[in-house]
């Protein structure tokens, strides 16, 4: 086989792959999928907390993208386009299942006051400057769906509050305050986890 006839997969960069995919090239679709599959699947998994749903949504996000790839003109980055599409697919699914996309505020004023009071009585309860990634992943999975959505979109995916507000239909202020509560909840979950670990060792 000559160089010209060898599969082009390894030589293709993303831009070439997009152009080839527009022509229906199977290898180009596969390359685009391979380049972005982990990011999209991880996003779907973090937001749903369910492997089967994450697989379905990953497939749906890529399917929607590939159906529209002929319309991609490169005004924004391909990854930006894909990730936004994946977020929309997940949010639509959450809405279909009547899961809260905007966090349901479940803390009362009294409970909020307790956050600092707990701190005052527990000077050694910090996270000690490091978090195990697996523990963080489990803690995120344990967040209520609404909090999880905001946290994943902002802290994991890097969206700004104005983008999140537009995506999920809430105010920027609401996005900020709910993100704060999500982080506080995560901190509590991680501290419980850390305390259990210490107790096991002693």
């Amino acid at each position: 086989m000559t160089d010209a006839k060898r599969p082009q997969r390894n030589k293709l960069n993303e831009q070439d792959a997009i152009e080839r995919a527009k022509q229906g090239d199977a290898g180009a679709f596969e390359l685009l999928y391979d380049l972005h599959k982990r990011r999209v699947y991880s996003l779907c998994l973090r937001m749903t907390g369910n492997t089967a749903s994450a697989e379905d949504l990953t497939q749906e996000a890529f399917l929607q993208l590939f159906r529209k790839i002929s319309t991609f003109r490169g005004e924004s980055a391909f990854s930006t386009w894909l990730h936004r599409m994946a977020v929309n697919v997940v949010l639509m699914q959450l809405r279909k299942k009547n899961l809260p996309v905007v966090p349901i505020d479940e803390t009362t004023e009294g409970e909020e006051e307790g956050i600092i009071r707990k701190e005052l009585g527990a000077p050694d309860s910090r996270l000690a400057g490091s978090i195990d990634r697996l523990h963080l992943q489990r803690a995120v999975d344990e967040l209520p769906p609404g909090y999880r959505t905001i946290f994943v979109l902002h802290d994991v995916e890097g969206y700004e509050h104005n983008e999140i507000a537009e995506m999920i239909g809430c105010s920027i202020g609401n996005s900020k305050s709910q993100l704060h509560k999500a982080r506080i909840k995560l901190r509590d979950l991680l501290r419980v986890n850390r305390a259990e670990k210490v107790a096991k060792r002693s």
Partner: protein, 210 residues
């Protein structure tokens, strides 16, 4: 400024809108500076979850099939299965490694031996059948593919052995911690991997007959 006032203003402070009064409070309050450090840590570590998980290969398989059905992929399907096997074999090293790590981790973190004076608690584990090295079903599948080229037969045999090994490791993890959802998920993944090998053999067999 007291701690409660500081915490109420924390979402804005984290966005970079801190006042000198808030900064002064931070300098004098270890509880609030600890809280802030933890929240910043959580936020900075979050991006490590961005590409954490490897999706199952079946997503691409069904996506590709759908793209072909809709005419979006315009090329004929590959006649050889070798590409698939290559992809499959490397992709599932990740869950196999995860299963081994979990099993090793469980062993490392097992509590010290129960003393004579302590009551013995009997742990009831679910009845998970052990996967034999070559089951009757494996033999049937291997006989189905026996007439194919030796390289393909060897690939099927190797993939079956790997699937069985993966199942055994996942079973071990489930036996050690029956309530751990990650071990349960690993076991499900292991069975799905084996199911894929079976399906591939049967599908190819049907294509050959047509």
């Amino acid at each position: 400024m007291n701690c409660l006032q500081f915490e109420n203003a924390l979402p804005d402070y984290l966005e970079g809108d801190g006042t000198s009064e808030q900064r002064a409070h931070l300098n004098s309050c270890s509880a609030c500076s600890g809280l802030l450090a933890d929240l910043n840590l959580i936020s900075s570590e979050a991006s490590s979850l961005r590409e954490l998980d490897e999706p199952s290969v079946r997503i691409w398989n069904s996506l590709e099939a759908q793209l072909r059905r809709e005419g979006i992929i315009k090329q004929p399907a590959r006649s050889s299965q070798l590409d698939f096997f290559h992809r499959w074999r490397t992709a599932w090293l990740v869950p196999v490694a995860a299963a081994l790590l979990i099993a090793a981790g469980i062993k490392l973190y097992q509590p010290a031996k129960i003393g004579d004076n302590q009551p013995v608690v009997k742990v009831i584990t679910p009845a998970v059948p052990a996967a034999p090295v070559v089951s009757a079903e494996d033999k049937a599948i291997l006989s189905t593919v026996a007439s194919r080229p030796p390289a393909q037969v060897a690939a099927y045999r190797n993939d079956l052995a790997q699937a069985n090994s993966f199942i055994r490791d996942a079973q071990e993890a489930v036996r050690n911690d029956p309530n751990d959802i990650y071990s349960q998920q690993l076991l499900m993944n292991a069975y799905e991997q084996k199911q894929m090998v079976y399906r591939l053999a049967v599908d190819q067999d049907n294509e050959d007959e047509q």
